[in-house]
C-alpha cells in the first residue's frame, strides 16, 4: 500500500463508517424499538388509525433507509454487498443480490391473503356440512373465522387488525398479481445480466491471455475485474430498485391495517433469523441425523 492510498483510506474512514455497524444499529432499532412500538399500537383497543399510520410510516421509512444505504454501500464495494459478511449462517442461504429475494415480499403478502381465503373456505365447508339445508348461514360470516383462529394471537387484537385481510378488495388482489407479474419478468432478466457479466469477464481474461507473462496477465485480470465490479454494481442497483419498488408498491396497495400486519410479519421474520436460542441449536445441528 503506498502513501497515497493510506491517506485516501484515512480520509475516507473519518467521514464514513462500516456498513456492518450501520446494519447492526438498524437491526437493533427495528427489533428493540420499532417492532414493539408497532405491535403495541396494533394491540390497543379501540385502535387509533392515525397512531397506527404514524408507526407504519416510521417502519416503512426505516426499511427504505436501509435499501438506500445498501445502494450507497454498493458504490463503495459491490462485492462485499453481494456477499455480506455481516449476515449469519442462518441468513446467508436466503440472500439474493445482497438481501432478501423480492419474491419473498409478495409471498409474505400472499400468505396473509391465502390464510384468509383458506379460513373462508374452511368456514364455508364446515357450514355446508353442519347446516346442509340451511342456506342462510353463509351470509353470517365473521364469527366462524374468529373461532378457527382461537389459539392465534389475532383473536386478542382489535377487530380491524385481526380482520385486516378478510375479504380483500378486488384492487388488492389485482395489484398483487400485477406486482408478481412484473417480478416474473424482471428477476430472470437480472439473473441473466449477472451471468453475462461473469461470462464477459472470463471471456476478456481468456481472450487476452498470453501464456507465461504473469505480470501482464495479472494486470489484464485486475482491469477486467474492475470493469466487472462496475457492471455488477449496475445489476445490483437494479435488483435493489426492484426490491424497493415491490416493497413500496405493496404498502401503497394495502390499507393501514394490512400494511401494519405486513410490516410486522416482515420485521418478525428478520428478527427471527437472529434468535439466540435458535441460533445456538442451529450451530450444533448436523446436516444428516
Amino acid at each position: 500500500m503506498n502513501l497515497l492510498s493510506i491517506s485516501a483510506t484515512f480520509g475516507r474512514k473519518k467521514t464514513s463508517r462500516p456498513f456492518k455497524d450501520y446494519y447492526n444499529e438498524w437491526f437493533n432499532s427495528l427489533e428493540k424499538t420499532l417492532l414493539p412500538q408497532l405491535q403495541n399500537v396494533m394491540l390497543t383497543d379501540p385502535i387509533s388509525p392515525s397512531q397506527l399510520s404514524i408507526h407504519v410510516t416510521t417502519m416503512q421509512q426505516h426499511f427504505q433507509a436501509y435499501y438506500n444505504a445498501l445502494d450507497v454501500a454498493a458504490s463503495d464495494d459491490i462485492a462485499q454487498v453481494l456477499y455480506p459478511e455481516w449476515r449469519n449462517s442462518l441468513e446467508k442461504p436466503f440472500i439474493w443480490m445482497g438481501d432478501l429475494h423480492p419474491y419473498l415480499l409478495t409471498n409474505l403478502l400472499r400468505s396473509f391473503l391465502d390464510v384468509e381465503e383458506e379460513a373462508e373456505h374452511y368456514y364455508l365447508d364446515t357450514n355446508e356440512h353442519d347446516h346442509n339445508d340451511d342456506g342462510g348461514v353463509k351470509g353470517d360470516d365473521g364469527e366462524g373465522v374468529i373461532k378457527i383462529g382461537k389459539d392465534s394471537e389475532f383473536c386478542v387484537r382489535p377487530y380491524e387488525v385481526a380482520m385486516a385481510y378478510r375479504s380483500p378488495s378486488k384492487t388488492l388482489s389485482t395489484r398483487v398479481e400485477q406486482i408478481e407479474c412484473g417480478l416474473r419478468l424482471m428477476v430472470p432478466a437480472l439473473v441473466v445480466r449477472a451471468r453475462n457479466v461473469q461470462a464477459a469477464f472470463v471471456e476478456r481474461v481468456g481472450g487476452e491471455w498470453e501464456g507465461g507473462k504473469r505480470d501482464e496477465a495479472k494486470a489484464v485480470i485486475g482491469e477486467a475485474m474492475v470493469a466487472e465490479m462496475e457492471e455488477l454494481a449496475g445489476v445490483f442497483l437494479d435488483a435493489n430498485r426492484l426490491r424497493r419498488s415491490v416493497f413500496s408498491d405493496i404498502l401503497s396497495v394495502t390499507n393501514v391495517y394490512q400494511a401494519a400486519v405486513f410490516l410486522e410479519g416482515l420485521a418478525q421474520f428478520l428478527v427471527g433469523f437472529k434468535n439466540i436460542t435458535l441460533l445456538r441449536e442451529f450451530d450444533k445441528r448436523k446436516l444428516a441425523n
Binding site: 463503495d76 439474493w96 461470462a199 472470463v202 491471455w209 465490479m229
Partner: protein, 298 residues
C-alpha cells in the same frame, strides 16, 4: 474443506508449471506432433517398433558388421534408447501430474465439499476463505460458474494473443461449434438450478419457523430450519454436479491430454491471480463503508 484451493495452487500446480517450462520434452512433442499429426503416444510406439525391427534385422546381418560399424550402431541404439527413456519418463510424469490435477478437481467437486453441519451450507455458498471480490467475479452457488469454465476455454482457443489452444478444431471452437453448443446447454441447466434456488429463497418465509404463518415451538423450529437447509444443500449439490460436468467435458471429452493439462494450468493460474487481486483489494478497501451522513437511521 478449505485446503483444496491452496493445495491445488501451490503444491500441485507449481511443479506442473515448472515442468512445462523447464523440460525440453514439450518442444520435441510439439515438433513430433507437427511431423506426425498426432499428440498421442503413437510416436513412442513407433520408436519402440522401429527399435525392435532394427534388433531383428541387425541380428541377421551381424556377421557383415565391422567393429567400427558395430560401435556406431551400438552408440546409435544407446542414444535412441536414452531419448526414448526420456520421452517415456516425461510422458509418465506428465500423465501422473495430469491425473493428480484432475483427481483434485474431482475431489473438490464431489467429496471434499460435503458439509457436516447445517451452518456449513452457508459456508459452501459464501466460504470465508474466499474473498468477496473473488466470489463476485466468478462464483455461482459457491464456486466457478459452470458455463464460465467453457467460456474460458472458448475465449482461450479463439484468442489472438495466445497460441495455447490454436490447434483445436474449428468444429469445437467456432461460434456454432461443439463448445458454443455446450455453453448454451449448461446455461439452461444453470437457469433451472437458479429457479430452484429462487423458489427456496422466495418461499422460505412460509417455511421458516419465524414466518407469520408458521410459528412453531422451538423444537419444531429447528426441524423447519433443517428442512429448508436440506433443500438448499440439494440445490448446491446439483450446482456442484453441473460444475463437475463442465470440467469433465473440458478435460476429459473435448480436449486431448496435453491440451487438458494446459487448460488446467491456465485455469488454476487465473484463479490464483484472481485470489491474489481480491485479497489485495480487500486489504486496500477495508470493510464496506457508507458516509456517516447517509447512515442515519430513523
Amino acid at each position: 474443506m478449505n485446503t483444496w484451493r491452496q493445495t491445488m495452487k501451490r503444491a500441485k500446480s507449481q511443479p506442473l508449471l515448472k515442468f512445462l517450462k523447464e523440460s525440453d520434452w514439450e518442444e520435441s512433442i510439439k515438433s513430433e506432433s507437427k511431423d506426425e499429426g498426432s499428440r498421442s503416444s503413437s510416436s513412442i510406439l513407433k520408436q519402440v517398433n522401429s527399435m525392435s525391427i532394427n534388433i531383428k534385422e541387425s541380428s541377421k546381418r551381424s556377421e557383415e558388421c565391422t567393429t567400427e560399424n558395430y560401435g556406431l550402431w551400438r552408440n546409435e541404439q544407446k542414444a535412441r534408447a536414452a531419448r526414448l527413456e526420456k520421452h517415456l519418463k516425461a510422458k509418465w510424469a506428465l500423465e501422473e501430474l495430469i491425473a493428480e490435477q484432475l483427481v483434485l478437481f474431482h475431489a473438490h467437486c464431489n467429496k471434499v465439499m460435503v458439509p457436516t453441519k447445517l451452518k456449513d451450507v452457508a459456508r459452501l455458498l459464501m466460504p470465508e476463505w474466499v474473498h468477496p471480490h473473488e466470489l463476485a467475479a466468478l462464483s455461482w452457488l459457491g464456486d466457478w460458474r459452470p458455463s464460465a469454465i467453457l467460456d474460458l476455454l472458448r475465449s482461450l482457443a479463439t484468442s489472438s494473443s495466445s497460441s495455447a489452444f490454436s490447434s483445436l478444431s474449428a468444429d469445437l471452437v467456432s461460434p456454432e461449434g461443439v463448445l458454443a453448443q455446450a455453453v448454451k446447454e449448461i446455461r439452461i441447466e444453470e437457469a433451472v438450478i437458479d429457479e430452484e434456488m429462487a423458489e427456496i429463497q422466495a418461499n422460505c418465509i412460509m417455511h421458516l419457523p419465524f414466518g407469520p404463518v408458521n410459528a412453531k415451538s422451538s423444537k419444531m423450529a429447528l426441524a423447519c430450519v433443517h428442512s429448508e437447509f436440506e433443500k438448499v444443500h440439494r440445490v448446491i449439490t446439483k450446482a456442484q454436479n453441473l460444475r463437475a460436468k463442465a470440467l469433465d467435458l473440458v478435460v476429459e471429452k473435448l480436449l486431448g491430454q496435453i491440451d487438458a493439462a494446459e487448460f488446467v494450468v491456465v485455469f488454476t493460474t487465473i484463479q490464483e491471480m484472481i485470489h491474489q487481486i481480491s485479497s489485495q483489494q480487500k486489504l486496500r478497501n477495508g470493510p464496506v463503508s457508507i458516509p456517516v451522513k447517509a447512515s442515519g437511521t430513523n
